[in-house]
């Protein structure tokens, strides 16, 4: 187990509420992998969605505040779990590392001297795992392999686009494959794994988002997936909570469990991570139903 693997952690709003299972499972997994995850002592909203307005720098200030705090607390690397936080912080950080006059303007506005350096490296947990942890390490910790479970990793947009911040090939992402394989799962590649779920349109255009959810879920199903693994609380919500709405137009849609990839890791490693506020309990239940042991499969037995 690697010594002294320490990383700053920026949780973001949803990880402390609706996505607490994501956080607790990730923290549990990090602990057994020997990663010291140190939450920033103060943090605020990441500032999502990254503003695309080239002129108005205001919407970036929330992100900058977090980056400054990370630097002040002595973190050279910070990690997020939420894809949106990753995307927003990383794009903001790029303002400071690329040749861009935004850097001076922001530092001036915040009366910062010498100003934020741009030197904090922003990781998504997946990227962190790929760079610092070998799949064999994950495999060695698995006590209940997900044998026979077909998991479709879903990446969505924010980890893959725009290309300056992509953690993987935007057209053929496979960063989750080695992890899920190490857990013993069958990894399902499906063409919608990099398609947008509709993101925040869920607040106003739920029908449109439900159409997206239907196509994504049905594509994964037709490729034989038992469940979809996600890395973003918003994707999780859109793909799971909108299944009811999807069924109003596509009554035949079979229930598809949506789980965070860290939940699968924690389960396979036999870690107890469940929080009191279980998110979308019906979904977890459905996922567990999928994992119900068959008489002749000891791997499944252990997953109970």
């Amino acid at each position: 187990m690697p010594e002294g693997l320490r990383v700053g952690y920026f949780p973001g709003c949803t990880l402390k509420t609706d996505a607490r299972d994501f956080e607790s499972s990730a923290l549990a997994v990090a602990r057994v992998l020997g990663i010291e995850v140190a939450e920033l002592s103060r943090w605020n909203c990441c500032g999502t969605v990254y503003s695309l307005d080239a002129v108005n720098l205001m919407p970036r200030l929330a992100s900058v505040h977090n980056l400054i705090r990370a630097e002040e607390e002595g973190f050279s690397e910070i990690m997020t779990l939420c894809s949106m936080c990753y995307n927003t912080l990383k794009q903001t950080n790029n303002l400071f590392t690329s040749k861009n006059n935004g850097r001076a303007a922001i530092n001036d506005f915040l009366c910062l001297k010498p100003g934020y350096s741009g030197r904090v490296k922003i990781y998504h947990f997946l990227e962190f795992l790929r760079e610092k942890i070998r799949p064999e390490q994950v495999k060695s910790l698995v006590v209940s392999p997900l044998a026979g479970v077909a998991v479709a990793p879903y990446y969505g947009c924010l980890l893959l686009r725009p290309k300056e911040i992509a953690i993987d090939d935007p057209e053929k992402p496979e960063i989750l494959t080695p992890i899920l394989s190490a857990l013993g799962a069958k990894v399902i590649d499906f063409p919608f794994n990099n398609e947008c779920c509709g993101a925040y349109q869920t607040a106003v255009h739920q029908e449109a988002v439900a159409r997206r959810a239907y196509r994504i879920i049905s594509s994964a199903q037709s490729e034989g997936a038992d469940m979809i693994a996600v890395s973003c609380p918003l994707c999780h919500y859109n793909l799971s909570a909108l299944q009811g709405l999807v069924r109003s137009t596509h009554p035949g849609l079979k229930a598809m469990p949506i789980v965070y990839f860290t939940e699968l890791m924690a389960r396979a490693m036999g870690l107890d991570y469940r929080t009191e506020i279980g998110v979308i309990p019906q979904d977890v239940a459905a996922a567990e139903a999928r994992l119900r042991p068959s008489p002749n499969d000891p791997g499944r037995e252990a997953l109970k």
């Binding site: 090939d169 935007p170 057209e171 053929k172 063409p191 594509s219 037709s222």
Partner: protein
């Protein structure tokens, strides 16, 4: 006492706009040795040249400086003017006050000052210039053609039929190139192999042609008129002189692999003829596929079955030296691999194929016998989507240029598919239709209207598999709608890129290629058939993507260029090459290792017998590396001596 003349060109407004010509002329007239300073609107014009020639005679000028454009543009023009006036052309020099000065300056005062210092430098250099005489070099009356596609074949035949010897070097086992793979050609629907194979046979039967197939050029030395070429003949493990082409070796060969000629859609044995009409009609053993290795002969089935005893497992690569006077480069193109486009499946989907693969299916001699089938299940596809500009016109991910032939061959593909499967549906995604050749627009229009083919104006964003079908996401920008098509087969008109060995060849031949990897022509308008190395000519898609018509035209043109060179017994070569002063050379040999052209050799001195450097004037290109490298200062580059260069620098600063 030297009598210098300075002539300053206005170049219309090109120079005069930022350089005060009048002031410049007045200042130049005061410089030492200058007996005449004149200006003129266009010195390169006939009256301008006449004026210079008259002045040289009238004022008995010894040396002349032309302050005008780059010598790359008009160096030759004014050298001829000097010659006409009886002045050694190397005593006339040019000071570039256009590209180096007026074009890059906005401020008039600055421009004029800089122009003056350029003229001063030029005069300083000219002061030490010495008359030089071009030397004659004999022309070897043979031509090397590299590449055995239709361009190389055409150039070879044109030259050979004029009575000159041609060495034709082809990398693959057979002549024919991509044209041999095609089914029918646009816009006339001529059968491609029917019109090509007679030419291939003609090449093999022409007594002036030496066909070196399965071979590569590995080294080239020399200069225009005298190139020494090294060709590496790969062992085909079948003796070309003995093989009768009977094919008895094939049935018992136990190894089956995919055939490159069928673009990976068809099979062949390890011992093979790429296609039945191959020239030369001799078999080749693919040593990578054969069970035998250099150390171990495991299988002798073909050897045993060959009655002509042509099989020789011990064959080794051979090197052949060839001396030629000119080279025609016709190395052709290939298609960008589908793997480069991730959103189109990146070569993961069997039923997403490229244009050449579709050609092989359409070809009667292809792996499907001319029937269009899905590679995945062999069924005849009912919905076929063609995607144009796959990789082309995409500076972000692919290549920035238009591949030029895709609009036409896609229309042809659509037509031929409809002829084969009348009830099938065809959809063509395009951005613009570029059908600018003779009969091309009419062809596309005819295909659209008579075959009732739906052309959709939009670029496809994503292709993915859904069950046995392929889903194509496109748009029809004309109606402003997204389009989704469930297709059985998708044909990508992949970008045309230079053939894979062309960069290596460019380095071997010391010629330039452009950003996309195509060989650079000497001038885009006026010398499109010549490389920037004299005596090396370009033909076909090696220079840029082009169709068969243009390729054949260019090949004939390149052959004409080569022939006009061969019409001379001798050519004049520039005397601006290096020269060793034997008395100073201490024989260290550093220059031998520096010279990139192998022009320097250590030879015994004619006077003392000690080993000193000697320059081969044919090989020397006058680059000056040896002069800069020589520790004793024994090497001089004629026309750019140290005296001249230092004088120029001193005058300028």
């Amino acid at each position: 006492m030297t009598r210098l003349g300075v002539f300053i060109c206005h170049c219309g407004k090109n120079i005069a706009r930022t350089v005060n010509i009048e002031a410049l002329r007045e200042k130049a007239a005061t410089l030492p040795h200058v007996v005449l300073a004149k200006d003129y609107l266009y010195l390169c014009s006939k009256p301008g040249q006449t004026m210079i020639a008259d002045d040289i005679r009238e004022h008995r000028l010894d040396k002349v400086l032309i302050a005008a454009c780059s010598p790359r543009l008009h160096g030759k023009t004014f050298a001829q003017t000097a010659q006409r006036a009886g002045l050694n052309p190397y005593l006339l020099d040019m000071a570039n006050i256009r590209e180096h000065c007026s074009w890059v300056h906005i401020d008039g005062a600055e421009g004029t000052e800089k122009a003056f210092s350029i003229i001063k430098g030029g005069l300083g250099r000219l002061l030490y210039a010495e008359p030089l005489e071009p030397f004659q070099s004999p022309v070897t009356k043979r031509v090397l053609v590299i590449g055995g596609g239709v361009a190389g074949i055409q150039a070879t035949l044109d030259i050979a039929n004029s009575g000159y010897e041609v060495y034709l070097v082809e990398k693959s086992p057979s002549l024919g190139g991509h044209m041999a793979q095609l089914g029918e050609t646009f816009p006339t629907l001529d059968c491609s192999s029917c019109i090509l194979t007679p030419k291939m046979v003609e090449v093999s039967q022409n007594e002036h042609v030496h066909l070196l197939s399965y071979s590569e050029v590995t080294r080239i030395e020399g200069n225009i008129g005298q190139f020494q070429v090294t060709v590496r003949l790969r062992p085909r493990y079948v003796d070309e002189t003995l093989c009768t082409g009977c094919g008895d070796c094939v049935p018992t060969c136990p190894v089956v692999v995919s055939n490159e000629f069928d673009q990976g859609l068809g099979a062949r044995k390890a011992v093979y003829l790429p296609f039945p009409q191959a020239v030369p009609a001799v078999y080749t053993i693919d040593w990578d596929a054969c069970l035998n290795t250099d150390k171990l002969i495991i299988c002798e089935n073909c050897y045993k079955d060959c009655e002509a005893k042509a099989i020789n497992f011990l064959m080794e690569p051979q090197e052949k030296m060839v001396e030629v006077g000119a080279v025609v480069l016709a190395t052709g193109y290939e298609l960008m691999p589908v793997a480069r486009i991730g959103e189109y499946g990146g070569d993961e989907y069997e039923d997403v194929i490229d244009g050449l693969q579709f050609e092989r299916m359409l070809s009667a001699s292809g792996p499907t016998g001319g029937v269009v089938r899905r590679p995945s299940d062999g069924r005849i596809p009912q919905n076929v989507v063609f995607v144009q500009c796959a990789g082309s016109r995409d500076p972000e991910h692919g290549i920035p240029y238009c591949s030029k032939v895709c609009c036409m061959y896609t229309a042809k593909h659509a037509l031929l598919y409809k002829h084969a499967v009348p009830d099938g549906q065809v959809y063509v995604f395009y951005i613009d239709i570029r059908a600018a050749g003779k009969g091309h627009e009419e062809f596309v229009q005819k295909v659209m209207s008579e075959e009732r083919i739906l052309y959709l104006r939009g670029k496809v964003s994503k292709i993915f598999k859904s069950g046995a079908k392929l889903v194509v996401w496109g748009a029809d920008t004309l109606s402003g709608r997204q389009v989704e098509i469930e297709a059985d087969l998708v044909v990508l008109a992949m970008a045309v890129i230079p053939s894979s060995g062309s960069q290596k060849l460019a380095r071997t031949l010391h010629i330039a290629s452009d950003l996309s990897g195509f060989f650079s022509e000497a001038h885009p308008k006026l010398r499109p058939l010549e490389s920037n190395t004299d005596g090396i000519f370009l033909a076909g898609a090696a220079q840029f993507a082009k169709d068969i018509t243009d390729t054949v035209s260019q090949a004939t043109g390149a052959a004409g260029k080569a022939l006009s060179l061969l019409a001379n017994d001798f050519i004049k070569l520039e005397p601006t090459i290096s020269e060793v002063e034997e008395g100073i050379c201490r024989g260290c040999g550093l220059c031998v290792s520096i010279c990139p052209f192998g022009a320097v050799k250590m030879l015994p001195s004619t006077r003392t017998g000690a080993m000193v450097a000697g320059i081969n004037p044919i090989l020397c290109k006058g680059c000056g590396l040896c002069t800069a490298g020589c520790l004793s200062g024994a090497v001089t580059l004629k026309g750019s001596s140290f005296k001249q260069i230092f004088a120029q620098l001193e005058e300028m600063v």
